[in-house]
Each structure stands twice: as structure tokens, then as C-alpha cells.
Subunit: 504 residues, 4 copies
């Protein structure tokens, strides 16, 4: 066991751009019509309340948007926004704004047959860019009419997804993407110039070249650009076995360094220096079949990322909030290695708590290192999060031995523990036989094993220092809160006379 | 630490008349109109689902039942069942049947002014027994009309409450009570002979004499009697301090012995031999101001009682389900030593879990001693509850070292732990400063500290024996479940390759 | 205006096999995962409470059931029941049992590429009947394991859908269907012989030949057959215009006569004489694009059918409960001529009320003709439904001039009126401009216009007859209830002194 | 039938200070703990959304606020805010702010025994004004601590209730009230000077003298005064019969004139000129036993008041939102003549709709007379309310023959009708036998009869004028909305081919 001694001055300040709750990813738009999806998102919003949501498939055929018919041999277009309305109405009712991703291509407007995923998103350029622009404008204008310009002006619009991958954009054709970007961004602005549009939504493959070329293109062509977007995942090459994929994690430092390079490229363009860079997708693994997503390791590793990504990024959107997701087909079990913070059956995974904890600590940080962050929270107390990611078996515990400089008085400590012993529903599911189709009583049990253990203590500070030890087992994630209290005792109540009311 | 070795044969049988969920007590009827009351009872029914509910105050003036007016100088009676309807409608909608307690006396029908409690229940005999009989008949007939005879014939009717105490019945006048019983029981039967009525609802003061005389009275007078009722509390004399009362517990054996004496008295009457004895109230302390009710000790002690009371009793009704209760006035804090399984703010107290656990284990017991009970549950597994009450400070741990004789195969173990460290909301409330008026975020925290810790394990049995140790700290209460499983592994899923998926 | 004088003897009896709430149709199984679907079905069950539900697409690829993979070059099958479980769990939680329709063909098991509908159900025979049998057995056994044999034995299993149409079954190949039926029905019975299976699920095209041949086939082959199924629609040839289809209705008598022929064919087989014939689909039009479904005409016409279909059929399942339906793609407006009792946006269509009314009148009929039915209801009153379908413009009113022979006393009359003026949300939607994407306030308004007008009256019967006129405008549908009452008047309440309390 | 021709210029302006939704009255504070109360208030807020709520009994003993105990013979005070917190928490969660009425007197602080109502509110002055001030300060400071000063500074504080009545204030002692006012208002301001306090909360008995003297007192003494309060009821002397009271209404003009006198008195004090006058209670009858409250007459009469009271008053609070009310005891029936907008059983009375309608029309009036008001509403349409109160039997209909000057184009008209035939639950209840204890199915029926009839029409304006007739039967209340629409017709949809889609 390693012990780290740390002194905390509650009046210090340290950088921390907490955007953990800014945006979250989702399975494709059509899935947003699902009942389980709605219920999961409702829970997510109740506990974490993200501000934006982003997903694929807005214009896929299962959304029924783009239609043509013939009159006297001439093709006419007609639009149908019913399903998009249902999805966006639901988002807004849950306190979420769309981070709109324009894509993929309606079959009637596609130039080819290439599709991606089980659900067959067409990834070819439009056969007619004018009609594509018409689709963009009709959509944006419909939203302005339905929700008002004031509302829509707070949304963000992104052009396509990962065009630097052949799977997502035919031939990963850079020039074709720039054309798409140009047409799309101008179509958005033609609806109203205050609308915000960005790209290029690339992932970490050949990304430096793509980003430079994209910014050069915009710079020269004058294509509107309000923010830059990219993706970031933290795993090495996959090893496939049956339905599953296994990968090693890269060190967090390596992951974070990649973002700094992008940041640097943007800042190297005088015109774009300081421009917002949104990470419109991130996670450990980019595969919805990697069991790592269901582990405590994932939570501890992600917590570290959440504490530092804001140093370079305007936001970072975890991919995805729930396991209602079908890129690789219908999952065979409730713990299928999918991206979600919630497993199907409304079971919070450990990483759910990383986001729940970061949603509570605010932005006013006083101390941070590779294992913890501490902030002053709104109610005048201190709130901290600590983590200890250990991918390899074994892995020793760490104790953070904090000394807080505080006023004298009474204090309460609240601790919420998420670790491999205490809040590990994946293990619980395996322990009960890994049932592929758990019934309601099994799901209830799994939800119980997916709760942090909450414990409280009371301290008296008489010499302006409070010593608190936080011990982190391998892959533990801990939230803690220290608060000055003004103890009140009801007339005649004597805790000493009540068995168990005070610590033995 | 003490260790007890215990061998369990899953085909054995042991007596166990599990009536923990048969009936529960409640604050007075008028409180059943409250919003918080409804919400608490709804939670109770969702988790424990009692069959019956019993409380005081059916005919108190705040229920607005009994009225008189004058026509030409003559007094006429009119009844108003609106509030009773609201209460009983709500009970039935929550799956509860009334265990009707007839009392107390409407002021207009009372022979005196003596009242009990903050809410002033009149405890004097009727000024006119004919009018009392009219009240009883009008009520019962109203229920038959509203709910149908089939439904009402499943209810139970009890005459008055604790007439052997001067506080509850003027002068504790035995003959007067017998008269009341006679008139009331005959009034009930006059509505329909299949209705079930009983008494004498005495508490443990001079109870042997009262019970004998009562049975003699019924025997001689022919007053209808379908079951016998009494109360039982487990504490010594109170020591009052401010708003609170402190008492010592009697040993569980002493508590249980008292019930056996009553049982014996009943059985000594040939006519009543084997007749149901319902304990229409029981708890540790009879005071709503004793902090013991909020402790883990209370849960562990009660669990012991629940495992054995059925040996002598047809049922035993915990007094009460929640802290919406006003006998001693409005409580000053959420942990005020009141009777409820739920503290105000929807916080389960440790004893809540004793009932929740007993509601799940069924009735088919295979082993039992003073620290545990094990049953076969419906789903073919074994379910057990263990407890370790220690009133005095200190108190050593106990380990139950079980050896189960089982078929070979894979087994899962689920354990739910409620102890002074893990599930002790009273202590948590004190740790955060014992706020008298906690806000919603504090209540949420307290509810989190009031959940059992649920843990799972998997075992392989190869030699027909499974050894499991259950360690009970002082006042611990543990639920455990052992179940044969048929593990299924999805194609390609390898727990060994997933960090944290199996025990290190 | 036509007036019909009718004498009603409340002790008479008339045939009436009310199965209006036995079963209802639904959009394909995958849609049952939708949020709007769940909400609509919940409302339907709250108000009408059907017993069974039937729809297409159980084995379509979007349910993710049937998979194959290769091990050492050999194809292995694996099943995934997650989505089916979600659907059936939801049905059962809403009080519905599956009327299982086996179909269509998973792509991996299909012998061809032919598909039907926007959602591309594969309608070709299995490439391997043994694997198809394996799929059937795995499914049924999975349900027995999950829900218990007792539950599953109350379900009904039907083989395929409308094999007599080329669109639904490749080449409408009769022999191939009989093979499918044979294999499937035996597979079901192999799971447990008490399970009930039937066919041939034909529609009204060449149906007499199909039915005869099918029964001959079963008779000879010994294929298990527990009930016969067919479909019935009431419209003539379609006239297509844009998104819509217009058709004339056949007279109800013609519709009903067709069912009698089927009944006769069944009864002509001694082995099958009297066997249940379930109409597993019926409606006016078979097109989901015919605006008739949204009209009052549809309600009045359907009411007539509901009053008589039970004369020949064991049940008749209205196709469908709601407009979450995609056979012809995503509807462009909330009133798109789709089948549902509810329009999208939770708006009851007039026909919703036909079913709601029939769900309330019970089965104990005392009088019936082509315009009304009257029953004794459970609460001792009389309940009636009256209708006046008029397809052609104009159409005169009808007055049903009832004379009821009743005991003397006080009676209340409750009337619920659904007609083109009063409860006509289609017209209201047109009046407000037929918005394709109504917002919540417009939907609220439309729901208000979709409520029956409920009115009450009080009568005094002194000469053992009560005269009540029910006037039906064109396409009116009326529910009425006559009940003896025992008026109670609170002390001092004088309706004559209260403005508006009694009819002027 | 009378016809009134009215020309409406949509660009005109007319005075209209719409405060119908500013504040509403409630039964005493303790009733706010009830379940039915919560449910009724939730519905009220969903449909009408009042901003403030005011009721009696804040400090009555059933709220458990004020306690004393002795230490060494000395009396000490302790406060208990649990119940007040529960009530105010609930109000705030429902979007309501307290219009706090300080009163009545806790028994421990009272100088006498005089009480009012079934629930026995003590109406005597404090025995010790310092302790009263302590109670006020403790309460206000508790609210500031719990809800924040920012929130509490938006509340309004009123001193006592109707001190000009002997029943509400011992001897109606004016000087004693002024003393109470002085002490209380200064106590409030001592907590924070931005808090707003007012009085004298008088009813219309000797009110001119009281108001003048009160303002003189404040003026001289310097007692803080931020607003003036009074009450207003519209009925003559009562005629009592059994449980009921009958009264004649005064003409609305007389009712309104009384308020102008008060307004004039206030304005005659230079210091108070223009000061807000809040009518903290108003209704037709001041008796909770007058059936008028349940009638359509009450709705039509109240609508008239709502259209004009804002001319002199800052607000006017209808007494009360619901029938959970006990001043005269527990009501014997669901239509007991009580004050509420909702009858028990969640049945909207006609007057509910008057408030619902006024909550929707906004404040931008263009025309008004004694029978109607028309405003421009937010969505660019016109919204109107019309009424026709007729107390006497008979009473002829009125037709308002409106000519609107409008742009050419298509318009929709929506009408909601509440009249004695259409939306009259009192009559419906009588028709079904006036059951004192209706069951759920009867309540459902009554709720159905309590809905307005909503109808729509479409118009085309080609000559810049639209003629619309609104016919009001006796005691009718009508809401109507005229809105320019931009009709959209889906491709191929032809209303002429759809039976019932357009008016015959």
C-alpha cells in the first residue's frame, strides 16, 4: 500500500474546466423512440442532467425524413419530420438540447450503396448537393418554426461523423467531405447567421493531417466554422473472441497528449486560435463489444480523464449514456461490453458514478493531481473525487492522507465508495450465473449491487487542521464531502444512551 | 468472537409460523388522510406488503362520524362516513384490509370527558349503549354496502384498545368493558353472522386476570368471540429526559414466555382451546419517544421475536409502519424515537429490513435457533435470516459457521447486511449534525445510508457440502440466499480477461 | 327523421357473444419497443382492457432472434430472446397475453429475398424446415421457462399470416404453407401437448378453397389443430391518390355473411364441428392509408359488427389498437388513415369509443337489432349501445323510441354521445388547419374534441314503463345506461332552491 | 333572446388588470398535510397555476409550532417547524408562494379561550406580546434559513384575519388589533427590511371606519405597511336549513362599488396613495354551506367579477381552491356548498373553468363589457370569455353578435362551453341520486360531466370582417379563441371524400 501525504489549503485555486455534464452520446436517433431508451435517459437526466446529446442517424431511412415522388415524370421532394419531432420533443422535455450531427445519407439521396452497422446507415455522398442543402435548410427551418430561433440558436450543429474512416465516409475522401462541409455549413447559416456549426468530427486516425487540411480549407473557402470537433478513444488494437473484443488501455497521459496536439493545431491558425474544440465522442474503447465498459477500471480511468480533459477541450461527450444501442446488433446479455453508463435493465455501471460525482463538485477547484480533485461546492463545503485505475491484475491500494487547513468547529464527512467489492454489478451478474435474460427480481438485485456505499463521520477541528485518509483499492472511485456543521441536539436526546448512535 | 458450528440438512423441517406480514399498526385513523402517510404506506406495501392494518381513533371526532341534531326537541342521530371511506378506500387500493378497532368514543356519545393523547381520544363508556350499537351496525352495514359482504367477511373486528389501562378506558373498569364487548360483538354479528369479532385487546398489565375473566364472561354470556387479542411490549420502566424516554429491554425469552402464558389460559377453556390469538400490537418499547426504535438493536431484537412469535400467536402486528404519528404531539426531529418502520422523510429504519427480510423467506423452515432461521424459498433456494442483538455496549461478534448438505453444482450466495456501520441512518443523521428540519438533499443522503449492503458470491459444490460463514457484528441483521445456478456464458465472454469480473 | 318504436322487456334474453375485448391487433413486434407504443397501449388497457394481442414480425431481423456462426466450417445457430422478452414482459405487465403469430422468416433462415412492407418482412419459406422447427421449439421453451407452463398454456399460437396472398407468402403456395403448418404445429405440441395452435390465418381471397383444403390437410395428416383463424375486411377496391386510398364499404350484412360461410365449412368437418374460429384481424379497410379509419362512420359501422360477429366467431381482433404502425412507412400527419383506435398524440378516434362501450356492457343481452344492443350489466342496470352508420352524404337521423318495462321507482339515465358534431377529432384537426406536426397545446385541444359528451337525466317510473328516446344523427354512436336509484337527500338540501340543480 | 351587436377592432386597447391567477385561498394549514389536498392542489396548479396561496391556522395547535417547558420553575419556549416546513415545501414544489397569514393564537400563548370553527382556532390576543414577536421572528428567520432571503422576499405577510369580526378577534377590539399589527409588522421587518407586510385583512363589516382608522394608526405610529388587505363577498343574509344556507346575490356592480370605496380611502392618504390593495379573500357567499358555490351561476357571476376587480385591486384571491375544508365540520356529501373550485373526488365545479379560462387570456385586452372580455393572446390570436349570470329562474339567452375586423385569410374558432346543460356536475350528481359516498365509477362519471364541451370551426375571411355569434344560455360561461391559420393539406388528402371530415 502506497500512502501519499497531501496538504490542502481551502483557499487555494487550481485549474479545472469541468464539462463532464456538457454533452453525452446516444445510440442512433431511431432508438430514441424506444421506451427503455426514454426511461434510461430520464434516469440519467435526473441524476446527472447533461445539457446536450449527440448521436448518429438523423437522416437514416428509419427516421422517414426524405421522400420523393413523381409528378408528370418529374421528381419532387417531400419531407416528414414526425419522428425527429418526437425525438427532439422528448430531449427538450428531459432538459437536453440536440448537438445535431447531420448524417447519414437517405437512400433516395445517396450516390452509392455502402452502409455501416447492423442498422445500415448509408455513408455515401449525396447524389445531388442542392437537394442535400434543401434537406438541411428544411430541417433547420422546421426546428426554428417548432422551437423558436432563440432555442435553436443554443444548439450546436456538426457535419457528418468520422469522415476520416472509410467505414463512415466512402473512401474517407477528404475533398468530398470538405465539399459536404461547405454546403452544409452554408445551408445552416442561410437559415440564420447566429446558428453555430462545426466539424470535422474526425477520430484519431490520420487526424493531424485531416485537422490541418480542414482548417486550411475553411480558412481559404470561407466556409463558416464556429467550433472544431473530434473524437478520442483510449484503447489499443482489439482481440476478437466470439461476441467480444478485448483491448489494452493506453496510459491516460497518452490519451490526454493527443488532445493537446489537436489544440495546438487549431491555435496555430490565427483565425481559429482559442476556438472551442468539442470532443463529440470519447470513451475507453471504441467497440460496443468490449467488456471493459462494464468495469470499475473503466470508471476509475474515466474519472482521471474527466479531471483533465477540460484543460484543452470545450467539452467532451461520453459515448454513450445507455446500452440501448445496436451498432453491432442486439446484445445477447445485459452486460455485453456496450458503451452505456446504464446497462439494460436500468443498472448503473461504475462509470455512471464517475459522471454523477463530477456533476456534483462544481468548477471551483482548490487541488488536483493524478489521483484526485477537490473543489469548493456551492453549499460552502469541500467536495472531492479520488480514483485509482489499475488495469493489471493485482495492483496495490493507495491511501491519500489529506491534511485540510480549516476553521475550528464541527465537520461532517460523507464518503461514497464505488469499487470492485462494493459497487460492481458485472461481478454480481456473473456470481448469479450470468443469466442472459434476467427477470425483474434478478434485475432488482443487480441494481442493489450497483449502488455506492455511502458512509458518514463526524469530526471536531480544534487546531485548524483536519486529517482524513482516503484509501483507494484497485479501481476504486470515491466521492467525499467535508462540511462545517452546526450540530443541534433536541432537548433530552442523548446519543450516548442510544445503542449504535455514535461510533463505538 | 464466538463461532457456532451448524450443520444444515436441506430436507429437514422445523416449526415456523411466519406471520410477520400479516398485520401492521398505524397512527390514528385521521392521520391516514395525510399525504406523507399515504406515501409511506405505499412504500411499505411495495416492499413488505402486509395483509391487514390496525389503528386507533376510528370514531374520534376528527373522523366526523357521529352527529346529532334536534327535531322538535328530540335528538336524532346522523352518520357521516366520508373520512372513513377515504381511509378504507386507500387501504384497499394498497392491498390492505382493515383490522378494525372499534373506538374511541365520539364526544356526543361519551359519558365523560376523559381523553388520551395529544389528539384527545375520549376513553369513556358510551352514555347510551343502544346508540353505540346503532353506530356499530351503521358502520358495518355501510362497509358491507360499499365493499360487499364477501370482502368485509375477510376483515377482523376488535372491541376497543387496552381497557386494562386507566388511560385507555375509564377506571380500567372490567365489567364496563365486558358490557361494551357484549353489545359491540352482538351488533357486529347482527349485520352478518360470518363476520369475525374479538377482544379484549389488553396490554401486559394485570393481563392474566383480565384474560381469564374475559373468557369466562364470554363463555357464560354467550357473547360472540372468534379470536382473542392482546398486546406485548419488551421494555422495562422508562427514564424520562426532555422529549425522550429511555428504557432497558427484557430478554427475548421473557417476552416470548409471557405470550405462552396467555396461550395457556386460552387453551384451558375447552370452548376456546386452539382459538387464534392475535397480538394486535407489539414492539420493543411502548413509548413513541424512545430512541431505541430507530436503532439496529431494535432490528436485531425484533428479528428474533419474528422468528418465534408464531409458535404461540396467530399473528403479531408491529406498532407501527411509519412515523406519521401524533400520540405525543408533533415530533421535533425526523429521528424522534417513534414507532415507525419508516422515519419521516421516507427513511427506512433498520427494523424495516427485519420485516422486509421476513416477508421474503416464506414459511417452509428447515433450521432455526436463537440467532437464525433458514427456509426453503419458493424459487427452490434456501433463504436465511440471522441476527445478533446486543443491548450493552461492547458486545462481541458471532460467526455462524454453516455446513450445508447440498447436491453438487454451482451456487450463488446473496447477502444483505444491516448493521451499525452499514445501514444506520440514525448515526448518519447525528454525523451530519442531527438537523431537525433536513432538506431534500439531506434526506436523500439519509436514505442512501439506510440501504443494506448487498453482496454476491459464487461457489462450486463438489463434495455435497457447502461451508458458509455468516459473521454478525453487534446488532447486525443479515439476510442470505443460497441458490443452485446453471451458469451460462455468452460466446466469447471470458471473465478472466475482464478486470474485476471475478474475485481476485 | 325515421322513428322506430321498440318495446324492451328486461327479463328477455337474446343471443350475444361479446368478444369485443378478447384480442386486438398491433403494429409489428419491433414497434412494441417504442415509448409512444407503450403509452398508447397502457391507455388502451386502462380503458378497454383487451385480453390478447396479436401482430406480425416476431422473427423479423429487427427482433434479433436468429443468428448463425461458424465453428470449423460448420454453421451453428444461436438465439437471442432479449427483444421478444422486452415485448412480452411489457404485454403481461399491461394485462395482455400474446396471441403469437409465428413469422416472418429470419434472413439467415430464408429461402429467398422476397419481402413485404416498408419494414421488409421476409415472406419466403424456410431454407431448412428442421432449423425452423428448432426456432419454434427454442422460442416456446424459452417462454415456458420464463413465464411458466401454466401461463403459456393460456396463450394461442398461429402459424404465419395470410398465406393465401402472394405478398405475404411466396407464390401463395398452398402446399408449402401446409408443410409449414405441419412442422410448426408439431413443434409447438412437442414442447407441451396442452399448448394451443391454429391456422390458416387467411384473408378473404380464395378463402373458401383454402379453408377446405387446409382442414382436409389437417384431417389427413393429423397435424394438430386447436382452432381455425381467418381475417375479414369490409371494403371494396381502392382508389389511390397521393398518400391516401379511398374505398367504398360493403353493407355489414355482406361482411357478416362471409364469416358464416367459413363457419359452415368448419362445421362440415365432423372432426372440427364447433371448433373455435378466431378472426385474428378485422377492420373496415385493410389499408393503413384510408381516412375512413379516423371517422365517425367507422365507429358506427364497427359497432354494428361488434354486436353480431360473436354469432359465428370465437373472437375478432380489431386491426389495430394504435397508430404506431409502419407498414406503409412513417405517417406524414396524425390523422393519416391508419388502423388505430388511438391516433398518434394519444387522441382517441371515434372507433375507440365503440370498443370502450362494448367493454362495459357485458354479455347478458335482452334485446338487439341492426341499430342497437341492450344488456343487463353487472350492477343491476341496463346498458345499451346504439349506432347509425351512413356512408353516403346526407343520411337521415333515426330515433329509437324505447319503452322499457320496469319496476316502479326512481331511475337515472346516463348517455354518452359520439357523433360527427360532438366527438370528431378528425374534423377538429382539419378546422385548425390540419397541422402535420401539432404541438402539445394543439394535441391537448384535439384530445378534448375526442371525448364523448356525457349527459344525465333522472326519471320516475310510476306505471311500470319508462319511455326513452335515443336520437342518432348520421354516424352517431351512443352508449346509455338506465339504473334504478335510491335517491338520498342530505338534511336541508333543497335542489329547488339551487339554481341549475334541476332541469328547468 | 336578446342580441347584442358588437364591433371588435383587434388593434384597440381597453383596461384589464388580469390577476385571476395571482393568489388563491385554502382550508387551514393543517389540511395542507392531507393527501386529497395535495392531489387537488396539484391539479389546480397544472391547469390554472396560481402564484400565491393563503389560508388560516398557521399557528394553531394542530401545526405543533409553539411549545413551552419549565426549567427550574422558569418557562422556556421551543419551536417546532416540521409541519409548516412540510406545507411550505409542498407549496413551493407546486409553484406556489405563501401569502402568509399570521394567526391564530397557540393555546400556550393565548390570553383567553375563545375559539372559532369546528377546528377551534384560538382568536384571543397574545398573553405576552414579546413572546408573540419572538414567534414571528423565529418563523420568518426559519424560512429565510430554509428557503433563502431571495425567495422569502417575494412572499407577502398579512397580520391576522378579519379582526373586525368578533368571531375572529376577541371583541373585534380595534386597538388591540393595531397593537398586534404594530408588533407583528415590526417583527417581520426586523428580520429583513425588504420583507413585505400588510393588513388589516378586514371583511365588509364596518369596513370603512376600520380601514380609515388603520391607515391613520400606521401613519402615526410608523408601523410598517407595504400593502393593504381586505375581503369581499357578494351575498345577502343567510337562510339556514339543516346542513345548508341559502342567500341571494348582490348585483356585481354593487360588489365592485364597495371595493372602489376602499380604494378611495387608501388614496385619500397621501402616504398610501396608489398602494396595492390585495383582496385576500373573495367569493359569492362567505358560507361553506351554500350550494351556490357548486353552480353554473357562481361561475358566470365570478367571471364578471374577474373581468373588473383588477380595476381597483392589486389582486383578488378566490376563497378557496378545493373542498378539503373543515370550518363547518366534515362535509356530508361531495357537493356540500363548500368554497372550492374542485369538489372532493377531483370534480371541477363550473367556477374552476372561470379561472382556467382567465388564466389563458393574458392581459392585453381589446374590448370588454358586462358580458365579455376579449384579449390578444400570446400566440397572435384573439381569446375571449363571455358570461351570462341569471340568478332568477327562467332568464333569457343572450347572443353576442361579434363583427371582427381582421386581415383576410383562414381562421379557426375554438369554443369551450360551460353551461347548465353541458358542464353541470351538481345536476349530474342529483340525477344519479345524490349519493353521499360515490364510488370510483360514479366519481369518474361526475368528472366526465364536469368537462366543457369543446367545438371547433373554420372560417375564411375575404372582406376583412368575420362575423361570429356567441349564444349564452342562462349562466353560460364560454371561452373562445380565433386564430389565423395556414392550412396544410397532405398530398392526396381530400376532406370532401372523407365522411364527416367537413361540416355537412
Amino acid at each position: 500500500m502506497e500512502t501519499k501525504k497531501i496538504k490542502i489549503n481551502s483557499n487555494a485555486q487550481t485549474p479545472f474546466n469541468n464539462k463532464a455534464s456538457f454533452c453525452v452520446g446516444t445510440g442512433r436517433m431511431n432508438l430514441a423512440l424506444r421506451h427503455e431508451y426514454h426511461n434510461q435517459l430520464e434516469k440519467i437526466q435526473k441524476d446527472i442532467h447533461f445539457s446536450y446529446i449527440r448521436g448518429h442517424g438523423l437522416f437514416c431511412d428509419d427516421m422517414g425524413v426524405y421522400h420523393t415522388y413523381n409528378v408528370d415524370g418529374e421528381e419532387k421532394i417531400e419531407f416528414n419530420f414526425r419522428y425527429i419531432d418526437m425525438v427532439f420533443d422528448d430531449y427538450l422535455s428531459l432538459g437536453l438540447k440536440p448537438f445535431v450531427e447531420f448524417g447519414f445519407m437517405p437512400k433516395k439521396l445517396a450516390s452509392g450503396d455502402q452502409t455501416i452497422f447492423y442498422w445500415k446507415g448509408n455513408v455515401t455522398p449525396p447524389s445531388d448537393y442542392d437537394k442535400w442543402a434543401e434537406l438541411i435548410k428544411a430541417s433547420v427551418n422546421h426546428w426554428i418554426e417548432r422551437y423558436g430561433l432563440k432555442e435553436v440558436s443554443t444548439w450546436l450543429f456538426e457535419v457528418w461523423n468520422e469522415p476520416n474512416l472509410k467505414g463512415f465516409w466512402k473512401n474517407a475522401d477528404m475533398d468530398e467531405y470538405f465539399k459536404l462541409y461547405d454546403v452544409t455549413s452554408r445551408a445552416v447559416k442561410s437559415c440564420d447567421s447566429i446558428l453555430r456549426v462545426g466539424g470535422p468530427s474526425i477520430c484519431g486516425v490520420d487526424d493531424e493531417r485531416w485537422l490541418k487540411c480542414f482548417l486550411e480549407y475553411c480558412s481559404k473557402s470561407g466556409a463558416p466554422l464556429d467550433f472544431v470537433t473530434r473524437h478520442a478513444y483510449a484503447t489499443e488494437m482489439p482481440d476478437v473472441n466470439g461476441h467480444y473484443v478485448y483491448q489494452k488501455l493506453r496510459p491516460p497521459e497518452v490519451f490526454l497528449a493527443e488532445l493537446k496536439i489537436s489544440r495546438g493545431i487549431i491555435d496555430s491558425f490565427p483565425r481559429y486560435k482559442g476556438m472551442d474544440m468539442h470532443i463529440t465522442e470519447f470513451n475507453t474503447s471504441y467497440s460496443p463489444l468490449n467488456p471493459i465498459h462494464d468495469t470499475n477500471l473503466n470508471a476509475a480511468y474515466t474519472a482521471r480523464l474527466l479531471s483533465e480533459m477540460g484543460d484543452t477541450c470545450a467539452s467532451y461527450s461520453y459515448w454513450t449514456f445507455g446500452d440501448v444501442f445496436e451498432e453491432a446488433g442486439v446484445s445477447f446479455t445485459p452486460f455485453s461490453g456496450c458503451f452505456g453508463l446504464l446497462a439494460n435493465g436500468m443498472i448503473p455501471k461504475p462509470t455512471f458514478w464517475a459522471f454523477e460525482f463530477f456533476s456534483k463538485i462544481g468548477t471551483d477547484a482548490i487541488a488536483r493531481n493524478e489521483n484526485f480533485i477537490i473543489t469548493k461546492n456551492e453549499k460552502g463545503g469541500l467536495a472531492g473525487i479520488a480514483w485509482n485505475p489499475k488495469e493489471d491484475s493485482g495492483g496495490s491500494d493507495i491511501t491519500l492522507d489529506f491534511t485540510f487547513e480549516l476553521e475550528n468547529g464541527d465537520y461532517s464527512l460523507v464518503k461514497k465508495l464505488v469499487d470492485e467489492n462494493t459497487c460492481n454489478p458485472l461481478k454480481a451478474w456473473i456470481d448469479i450465473g450470468s443469466p442472459p435474460y434476467p427477470g425483474e427480481s434478478q434485475l432488482k438485485l443487480l441494481r442493489e449491487t450497483a449502488q455506492p456505499r455511502t458512509a458518514t463521520q463526524r469530526f471536531q477541528v480544534t487546531d485548524k487542521t483536519l486529517n482524513i485518509n482516503i484509501t483507494l483499492s484497485a479501481n476504486a472511485l470515491i466521492y467525499f464531502e467535508i462540511k462545517k456543521i452546526n450540530p443541534q441536539t433536541d432537548r433530552g436526546f442523548d446519543p450516548e444512551r442510544v445503542r449504535g448512535a455514535v461510533n463505538a
